[in-house]
């Protein structure tokens, strides 16, 4: 499905680093790294909103672990994006000094955290995608990205296990939890299509062996999600209208509020170091 680097083959001369990167690939790669980094950053932000407010103490700690994984990924990915851009910015500049139109995250991660059912359902839908994506990205011909992916893959796999087990319990728990879980799935479904879109950025990178074809991830993603949803005795929503736009900067109303909060200090005191 993806042969950027033959599986299991150790790093070779053909593997790219930031220094040896074909200049023509830079804009697309920068854009792609922003997508990955912004997904992680914005999802991490939403997860971090649970800290201190979880449904019980153990789960509070668990949700914060998920948030920490995401913010850590964002730090690595945005740092790499800044390096690829080569304009003297760093990860914090990208996180804290871009406006909504320049964010490239998928819409699904910016939706407000909702109740625990919504958070669990989003974690399932997103981590089922992320674990396939990072599994494939471990073989990216862009070596620094493959390195980040190796770690992110393990994290995403745990996120998938955590959210799968929870969705099963919510779906097959009480009437109330079942209804909340189903509502969450239904509300989220129209945001899933965006994850598998292939545009010019991706065409360029797929051809160069830097990124997997997102379309190839959709079938295994669906299979995994279906299996969990069915074990949770819930119903997979019907494919209908899919809302997209995040990858080109067309976001929901929620992102602006999120950024206003997240970026407040660096924006209010542009010359300060914190």
């Amino acid at each position: 499905m993806f042969d950027g680097r033959a599986s299991g083959r150790p790093t070779s001369d053909t593997d790219m680093t930031t220094a040896t990167l074909d200049p023509e690939l830079r804009p697309a790669l920068f854009d792609y790294l922003l997508r990955l980094g912004d997904d992680a950053l914005v999802l991490g932000h939403r997860l971090s909103e649970w800290c201190g407010h979880g449904p019980y103490l153990e789960e509070d700690i668990a949700l914060t672990n998920l948030a920490l994984d995401c913010v850590g990924q964002a730090n690595g990915l945005l740092g790499l994006a800044a390096e690829v851009e080569g304009a003297g910015r760093d990860a914090d500049d990208l996180a804290f000094r871009r406006d909504a139109l320049d964010f490239r995250n998928a819409l699904i991660v910016e939706l407000p955290k909702g109740d625990f059912g919504f958070t669990v359902a989003r974690q399932l839908l997103f981590s089922a995608y992320a674990h396939l994506l990072y599994e494939a990205l471990r073989e990216s011909a862009f070596e620094p990205l493959a390195g980040i992916a190796a770690k992110a893959f393990k994290e995403a796999r745990y996120h998938l296990r955590h959210s799968s087990e929870w969705l099963i319990r919510l779906g097959d728990g009480t009437d109330e939890s079942r209804q909340r879980a189903q509502t969450a799935l239904d509300d989220l479904w129209m945001y899933t299509g965006e994850l598998f879109e292939k545009d010019d950025t991706l065409r360029t990178l797929v051809d160069a062996g830097l990124a997997p074809d997102p379309r190839a991830l959709e079938a295994p993603w669906r299979e995994r999600v279906e299996a969990v949803v069915s074990q949770a005795t819930l119903t997979l929503p019907e494919d209908d209208f899919m809302l997209t736009g995040g990858r080109s900067g067309r976001h929901t109303e929620h992102l602006g509020h999120l950024l206003a909060e997240m970026q407040f200090l660096p924006r209010a005191y542009p010359d300060a170091v914190w």
Binding site: Y56, E58, I61, A62, N65, H162, E165
Partner: protein, 99 residues
């Protein structure tokens, strides 16, 4: 949380952590959870969040049976006066290496 207790659902599980391969599992504390998988996940997040864990055990706290201080005389004192179980009980001449 009395409604929880009536179903007997969220119960304490004792957690044992193996810090590295070859080391024994050590008791570190408990987590509350509704079932074994949740207990494992909770233990992972609570007691494994700084790394240094290669394996976890969880067991319902109610499954642990322990001696009481009253037992300690009859249980453990009889083992106190059996020096022949310890190597220092035996004498070997000085030249006998690796015995």
């Amino acid at each position: 949380m009395s409604e929880q207790k009536s179903t007997g659902g969220m119960v304490p599980w004792e957690v044992f952590v193996q810090p590295r391969t070859g080391a024994p599992h050590e008791h570190v504390g408990n987590v509350h959870a509704s079932d074994a998988e949740m207990a494992l996940q909770n233990a992972r997040d609570v007691y494994g969040r700084r790394g240094k864990v290669v394996s976890l055990w969880v067991t319902p706290a109610s499954a642990i049976h322990a001696t009481t201080p009253d037992d300690s005389g009859p249980f453990f004192d009889p083992a106190d006066d059996k020096p022949y179980r310890h190597p220092s009980f035996y004498k070997v001449p000085h030249g006998g290496k690796n015995v």
